[in-house]
Symmetry: C2
Subunit: 404 residues, 2 copies
């Protein structure tokens, strides 16, 4: 007998039919002799609808009250799922975040989990209940309801799995696993059996949108084995875990991130401290920077180019203009025409040919590289947005053997 | 400075505009220097919508899960009202039933309040917050959410007022007070300044639909002064309290209750214990009986007639048929054509002419009386439903002076 934590997102429980589908998955797992804890998000558009209601009354409502409002969404979905499980003839017990023992800090809207006691979960499991826990929410030291922010339900599931030493944490999504590239765009994309936490983190950051990053970080810290799978297809998914079996495949995946803006500061004085001044200020304004490129200084001037997300670009430019970096300096921002394409794979750091192979593939596809960034397990290039899908296909085909 | 508890029902907070209207009433009360605790129900049709969602998945869902589901309704309305209060520039803090300290027994769906600690409410009032509390809900000894049943928000408000020794508990409804009869039906209906708890209880039971009965019982027990008033008109309402000022008016009100079914058992054997057998079994099935009439026995047979609510009639007949009361016995049920008209007034027990005056008024309106029931402070008659409104007008005009 194993302890399995299963997590279902909002679209998996969007209506009565889908709730019944989830109940069938959950009860099948239970019927095989497992203890089952299920974590669910709010139904479909519930959260957005509630936000809309709030905006109509007070667009600048306090975050405490927003959390009180939004946490009602999971309360509805957990009770409906428990009812669906009862309908199939099994015992179920729904628990709110605070009942399940989720303690968080007091950053309303983006609270961090401090502790999960899970006492009540254990009690209900001992009574042979399937336990349905509200994701995304907890309680702070003032006994106020907090929410973990978007994607928080993944984190809730991993936190329970960590606290209870679950054998597996299954994250059900609308894809049946982690692919080497977006299968809708790249015909040759291959589903991975296994992937490491670090690779998954790079893929999540790079726009693969399969797993929430915080949840993978937490899984890595507490060594929780995650399985990413689909609630529709019922086939084994992709395991995310520490040690994965050796494979010939160097590259785990190729991703595209279109939410990229490139900002250039042309003609910065070539004096010490200028980069600190720029990026220190941007950090203070909570603007995340990705790739940075600095030209070699010439005639006492240099150019600095960096990328950030598109929603941050306007504010970044504003911050830069306020810095008074020097005379005759121009700031250029392209937040519509660039995209980032990356290859990720834990094996690549010991294989120097990876970068060359990627650049070759792009050259042969006639795609120009604007910027390059590398880490131990990934290589990213900035290119024209219009060529991004072609680039993903070209790079993918160069690295991933066509198994079809 | 006084402590005022204000309660607003679901229709008062049905949309953004109405929530803002409630926020204005609440903040005006606060701005006059009062401490204010507000109790709200779920918005408009929220509860019915949630019940519909549940039925779609599992029509016989456990009551525990139904309570988990339904209590989300008030969670939404309290946070929205708190946001509206913030919007008007005041400090607000919403609290769920358990946060406000509502302990109940474990009868899910119809829990009784055992205790209200109100500690958190006091803390938030001391921080100069307007406190918005979720009505209708509490927590049982297992730390599970319970609901108090329909109309429970009135009871929540009175319970807070009792626990905190509030100066007044204002129940906002869609009428501006308690009238001597339904003002839409009886042109001469007069709004009462004051009414006793007992009179209010009779009026509530009789279908005046102004206040939930349990709340009046609790107010009587803890001597909470209730004011019934409208959230739209902003005029003083009707006070419900123990000692009311002497008035010439004997009769406080005339009401109609159309939710009545008359069931007759014709030809019951005239032997001891037969009434016990019938009404004992009906009580065991939780079927409430109102008026009972038994004919004088003749030829070893007698007839028993009683009234119950229309929604209970079908089950009552089924129970009676299962009792095997004797041979050649017939059961008749009229659950469409009868109505009950009642006069209520604490003074009437010492004024023997009241019943006669009522019967005279009905006789002059040419309305036949089928059954009669009396208590210390009320007289009820069962008549044809089609004459009920005429009967209310006739009886009202006979007792209540026309002040217009």
């Amino acid at each position: 007998m194993a302890l399995i934590v299963q997590k279902f997102g909002g679209s998996s429980v969007a209506n009565a039919e889908r709730v019944m589908n989830v109940a069938r998955i959950v009860t099948e797992t239970y019927a095989k002799g497992n203890d089952v804890v299920v974590v669910v998000s709010a139904q479909g558009d519930t959260t957005d609808d509630l936000i809309e209601k709030a905006k109509e009354i007070n667009p600048s409502a306090s975050k405490r009250e927003m959390d009180m409002l939004l946490s009602a969404g999971e309360q509805i979905s957990i009770s409906l799922l428990a009812m669906a499980i009862e309908k199939l003839g099994f015992k179920a017990c729904s628990l709110l975040g605070w009942q399940a023992g989720f303690s968080t800090n007091s950053v309303y809207g983006a609270a961090r989990i401090k502790k999960v006691t899970a006492e009540r979960i254990r009690l209900e499991l001992s009574k042979k209940n399937i336990v349905v826990v509200a994701g995304f929410q907890g309680l702070n030291k003032y006994d106020d309801v907090t929410t973990l922010g978007r994607g928080g339900s993944d984190t809730s599931a991993v936190a329970i799995a960590a606290a209870m030493h679950a054998d597996r944490c299954q994250i059900y999504t609308d894809v049946d696993g982690v692919y080497t590239a977006d299968p809708r765009k790249v015909p040759g994309a291959v589903k991975l059996d296994e992937i490491t936490y670090d690779e998954m983190l790079e893929l999540a950051t790079l726009g693969a949108q399969v797993l929430n990053n915080r949840s993978v970080e937490m899984a890595k810290k507490y060594n929780v084995v995650i399985e990413v799978l689909s609630s529709l297809t019922r086939v084994p998914g992709t395991l995310v875990k520490e040690a994965v079996k050796m494979e010939k495949m160097l590259v785990r995946g190729v991703t595209k991130d279109a939410n990229v803006a490139r900002i250039s500061i042309i003609g910065v004085p070539n004096v010490p401290g200028i980069a600190y001044k720029i990026f220190g200020k941007l950090a203070a304004e909570n603007i995340n920077i990705d790739i940075i490129l600095q030209s070699v200084g010439r005639d006492g001037k240099k150019d600095i180019t960096f990328t950030t997300s598109r929603d941050n670009s306007e504010q970044a430019v504003k911050v830069l203009k306020g810095l008074e970096l020097g005379e005759n300096l121009s700031i250029e921002c392209d937040d519509t025409n660039v995209a980032k394409v990356s290859v990720v794979g834990a094996g690549m750091e010991t294989h120097p040919g990876v970068a060359a192979k990627m650049f070759e593939a792009l050259f042969e596809a006639d795609i120009n590289i604007q910027m390059i960034s590398t880490s131990e397990i990934k290589i990213s290039v900035l290119i024209d947005a219009e060529h991004a899908d072609d680039a993903v296909r070209a790079v993918h085909d160069a690295f991933i053997p066509d198994e079809k």
